[in-house]
């Protein structure tokens, strides 16, 4: 391990410095090339410094889980960056400089969340992410649907943050500490209060994760934003939140039946079924992917509810598979038609642009869990975790949801196979960055699907369940009080 620099996770330091440098660069001279290069450079350096350690601290956990999920977040952000380069919809109202700034800030927020070991650090990360996402959603301000999306997001994000903070407050009232963990793990005096706190915190997180029944905003928001932002919203923010959620429950015994475990189970089941039901009826690709993303959050919760050796490994693997396939699908939509995301826009793609169509088919197969795409192994891995924890109900939901999912994933493939309509031109040439992104993601999806052990660590990752070690020193605690 390399020498430690400070208590801050090194990637957070790099990302915040990069944000400032980018801001300075915009102040001095507005140039898109400089912005993009600076953003890419910052993200790459942040990725490179991930293996470095940090001074032990009560605020940040710089562990393997943080490293893994941050790497996913940073790589996804690079993907979004490649997608948005030369995207006309991003720059129709504004100069695109602030877009890069906000992109970097949302990556910073998400990375911060994955390391948060204290309620405050987690919350700062969450708000950094939410506020920059708000800016990104409303970026195309003269469009009425962008305004609608931004308004919905700001209201629901605000409400969920309030619920979350109220949960933290209750948790603090009960345990006297701001450690980011379910209060049950901290030996509370009053179980009722602790359960209430947990439920409120969870509700806040479910809102942001858009799990059913807190999901209604997602489809509208995705529809109203540009494609890169939709990708960011459905991948980066969800990885960050899910990673944090796993940390939150690290010291909590989800196996014993109880109110918390029941609630997560119910939400997971509802998400699997509800997300798929939502997606089946859609003819807009972004709305369809919104439903698919909700369903995948449900599948991921099977891993959350199966703590142990398989749970964490499968959650990590599933997140990676989901991120690759979802970003890939959005990137292909971007390459086909950035403005028109109706299902019809893909019609006849296999004839007009076969490479893109093949890529889309791979992504859909991965999301549907069909070999040889990586989604198949991811689903099996999650099911291993579920079976090992005897989550029979959830496994039944997983199967029903998967079969329902086939309907709309296969519909995309079928539409692409249909003969092309006359008015569909061959379309614009994919921007070079986007082309590289699509080919890279397709390759990753296939290679990992055939040889998944590349992404399975030899030694299973352990999530720091050392709640006691995470409690603040007494002096700091009093200072916070």
């Amino acid at each position: 391990m390399m020498p430690t620099f400070s208590a801050l996770p090194p990637s957070v330091v790099v990302l915040s410095l990069g944000t400032m440098v980018l801001m300075l660069a915009i102040t001095i001279k507005r140039s898109e090339i400089i912005d993009a290069v600076l953003t890419l450079l910052t993200l790459l350096v942040a990725l490179a410094v991930l293996p470095m350690g940090a001074a032990p601290s009560a605020l940040f956990a710089v562990d393997d889980w943080h490293r893994f999920s941050s790497a996913l977040i940073i790589l996804s952000s690079i993907g979004v960056l490649a997608m948005s380069w030369r995207d006309p919809t991003v720059r129709e109202a504004h100069a695109p400089d602030e877009f890069y700034l906000l992109l970097l800030m949302s990556a910073l927020g998400a990375v911060l969340m994955t390391a948060g070991r204290n309620d405050i650090t987690f919350f700062i990360g969450l708000e950094t992410l939410s506020l920059s996402l708000l800016g990104l959603i409303g970026y195309r301000q003269h469009r009425i649907e962008a305004g609608e999306a931004a308004m919905k997001y700001v209201v629901l994000s605000g409400v969920s943050s309030a619920i979350l903070v109220f949960g933290f407050a209750l948790s603090y009232a009960e345990t006297g500490s701001l450690v980011f963990a379910a209060p049950h793990a901290l030996h509370p005096v009053e179980p009722l209060l602790a359960a209430m706190a947990t439920v409120l915190v969870m509700t806040g997180m479910f809102f942001k994760l858009s799990a059913v029944p807190f999901h209604t905003w997602l489809a509208d928001v995705l529809e109203g934003t540009s494609i890169p932002v939709a990708a960011l919203l459905s991948v980066v923010s969800k990885i960050g939140l899910f990673a944090a959620m796993l940390r939150y429950f690290a010291g909590f015994d989800l196996m014993t039946p109880g109110s918390v475990s029941d609630e997560v189970t119910a939400v997971a089941l509802l998400s699997m079924i509800g997300g798929n039901l939502l997606a089946i009826g859609q003819t807009d690709l972004k709305r369809m992917l919104a439903g698919s993303s909700i369903a995948h959050i449900g599948y991921l919760m099977v891993a959350l509810l199966a703590p142990g050796a398989f749970g964490l490994g499968s959650a990590g693997f599933y997140l990676a598979a989901y991120a690759a396939a979802t970003i890939g699908a959005f990137a292909i939509m971007e390459a086909v038609s950035p403005n028109h995301t109706h299902l019809n826009s893909l019609q006849g793609l296999f004839r007009t642009r076969p490479a893109l169509a093949l890529g889309m088919a791979v992504m859909m197969a991965s999301l549907a869990g069909i070999p040889p795409a990586v989604g198949f192994f991811a689903k099996v891995y999650v099911a291993v975790a579920g079976v090992s924890a005897h989550r029979d109900l959830l496994l039944a939901g997983l199967i029903v949801g998967s079969v329902m999912g086939l309907f709309y994933y296969l519909r995309v493939v079928r539409v692409m196979l249909m003969p092309a309509t006359d008015e569909v031109s061959t379309g614009r040439i994919a921007a070079p960055g986007n082309a590289v992104l699509i080919s890279a993601l397709a390759l990753v999806t296939l290679v990992l699907g055939v040889y998944p052990s590349l992404l399975i660590p030899r030694n299973p990752i352990h999530l720091g369940a050392d709640v006691e070690a995470a409690t603040l020193p007494v002096s700091t605690q009093t200072a916070i009080r």
Binding site: G313, A365, I370, P371, P372, F376, F377, V380, Y381, A383, V384, V387, S388, L395, L398, I399, S402, V403, L406, F407, L410, V413, R414, L417, Y451, P452, S453, I456, P457, R458, P460
Partner: protein
């Protein structure tokens, strides 16, 4: 032994080449030639495996193993016994029928067509040799996708609904099987502390009666969907009717056999006790399938639909044989699978050819074809007779052995099954009468009859059917199912040498 993975890789690579060839030289026969060459290479590999296997001691004839996902105990393990060998040969023969007869004249994106065909064959080969349960599942799911695209792109009028029905049924069954596999693996892990997906290791897992029934049912449903067993057969008539000719041949000839293979390998041999418990149910389902399929065949007017329902009926015998609990029954079931694959595959090829020429599958608009198409009609007559179980043909051997085995278990069931044979004679002869005999209703234009190429292929197929009917001993000897506790000598010796 690199030969076993070659059986999977050769069709895959050949398919890719055919696709690239089709894109590069559009309008030529390049993809078809590439496909044919691939099949020749595959057959050569198979021949090589067979020749090596002749002198082998022990039931397991070939073995391959390589690490894949070590942290979950998943290996690339493939073993071949006589059962696999017979079914691999069936696949080889039927692929030739597909490629030589059905896909040669495919003009619409021929490269893609050959690619999908060969990918399906690759997946089926993988299913027949995989002995790592994860690998098996991988191939099981893999063979669905190309078939789906084949039906969607080249199928007939209602193809989309048929394709999605096919996919949903089989995928749903596959997911249930996935749960069963994982349950078995984790049960084994809990007992021994070893996480493995290896078929041979898992065979010895100790489990309670209830657990074994539940796990077995997951496998059983997946294979029952594929075979198909009666309440789960709804996808089959539509899919067979709507699929392109090559797709129908492949589906009826090979894909359904993966269900029968799975029942023998993964239900009967892996869960002997649980199997014994559901035997009555399976027997009843089998006989219901026989009678129901035959009954529905009687009233069909669509030629392909009739053949599809007759498949349901014939494959009921497979279910009966597999669950009869005796070696005799399993021998009969395998024989029936081979014979059904050949005869029904050929019938679908003939029906496809008729549809291409007449542009209809409606038997009411056919009739009197014997005078116009003598070669085709004679071939059709032969395979219709084979299909109804005329003594001297392979189908008769299979059905007879199955009924004999079932007689020892339950005479009632055997009698009912035999009644199904009577019905099958009725519908087969009705079909022959309506399609080939009678008078030609109108003086339609001259139709192209089977030429040298078709007659050669069908002639060879007929020869195989008759040969197996007259001298079935070699196949019956080969297909003695090998119990998983008979650990392969090969795998022990090869374990030291490593892969290859």
């Amino acid at each position: 032994m690199i030969a076993l993975p070659c059986l999977v890789i050769v069709p895959l690579v050949g398919g890719l080449l055919a696709w690239i060839g089709g894109r590069k030289w559009p309008g030529t026969r390049v993809p078809w030639i590439a496909s044919l060459a691939t099949l020749c290479v595959m057959t050569a590999v198979l021949l090589d495996v067979t020749i090596r296997a002749i002198g082998r001691p022990g039931p397991w004839l070939a073995h391959f193993s390589a690490p894949w996902i070590p942290s979950l105990g998943i290996t690339l393990r493939a073993d071949m016994d006589g059962l696999s060998l017979v079914l691999l040969w069936l696949t080889g023969v039927l692929s030739f029928i597909c490629v030589l007869l059905a896909s040669r004249d495919e003009t619409q994106r021929p490269g893609l067509f050959q690619f999908l065909l060969l990918t399906t064959i690759s997946g089926v080969n993988g299913v027949f040799i995989a002995t790592d349960l994860f690998l098996f599942l991988f191939f099981w799911e893999l063979m669905l996708v190309p078939m789906y695209i084949l039906i969607v792109l080249w199928g007939h009028e209602a193809r989309e609904a048929a394709a999605i029905k096919f996919f949903l049924y089989t995928q749903g069954g596959g997911l249930l099987m996935m749960l069963s596999i994982l349950g078995l693996v984790l049960l084994h892990y809990r007992h021994t502390g070893v996480l493995t997906f290896d078929y041979f290791a898992l065979a010895g897992t100790a489990m309670s009666g209830r657990a074994s029934i539940l796990l077995m049912l997951g496998f059983f449903i997946a294979f029952a969907v594929k075979l198909p067993v009666v309440p789960l057969h709804v996808w089959l008539p539509d899919t067979h009717t709507q699929a392109p000719t090559a797709g129908s041949v492949l589906l009826a000839g090979i894909l359904l056999k993966t269900g029968g293979y799975g029942l023998i390998r993964f239900v009967v041999l892996l869960f002997p006790d649980a199997t014994a418990q559901i035997t009555p149910l399976a027997m009843v389902l089998g006989v219901v399938g026989i009678l129901y399929g035959a009954w529905l065949s009687l009233v069909q007017t669509d030629l392909k639909r009739l053949i599809a329902y007759s498949s349901v009926s014939h494959l009921g015998f497979v279910l009966l044989g597999v669950f009869s609990g005796s070696t005799l029954g399993i021998e009969g079931a395998v024989m029936q699978m081979v014979a059904h694959g050949l005869s029904t595959g050929a019938l679908f090829a003939i029906a496809g050819s008729l549809q291409d020429n007449l542009h209809t599958r409606d038997m009411r608009r056919m009739g009197g074809l014997w005078g116009v198409l003598p070669h085709l009609s004679a071939t059709g007559l032969f395979f219709a007779f084979a299909s109804l179980g005329l003594p001297g043909m392979a189908n008769f051997v299979g059905e007879f052995l199955v009924l004999l085995a079932v007689w020892h278990v339950s005479p009632v069931i055997a009698v009912l099954g035999a009644f199904g044979l009577v019905l099958s004679a009725v519908y087969s002869l009705t079909m022959v009468g309506r399609v080939f005999m009678g008078t030609r209703s109108s003086d339609a234009p001259r139709l192209p009859d089977f030429g040298f190429r078709q007659m050669t292929v069908f002639g060879l197929t007929m020869a195989v059917v008759v040969l197996l009917g007259l001298y079935p001993r070699p196949v019956l000897d080969l297909v003695h199912p090998t119990r998983p506790d008979v650990v392969s000598v090969l795998s022990q010796s090869a374990g030291g040498n490593g892969p290859g």
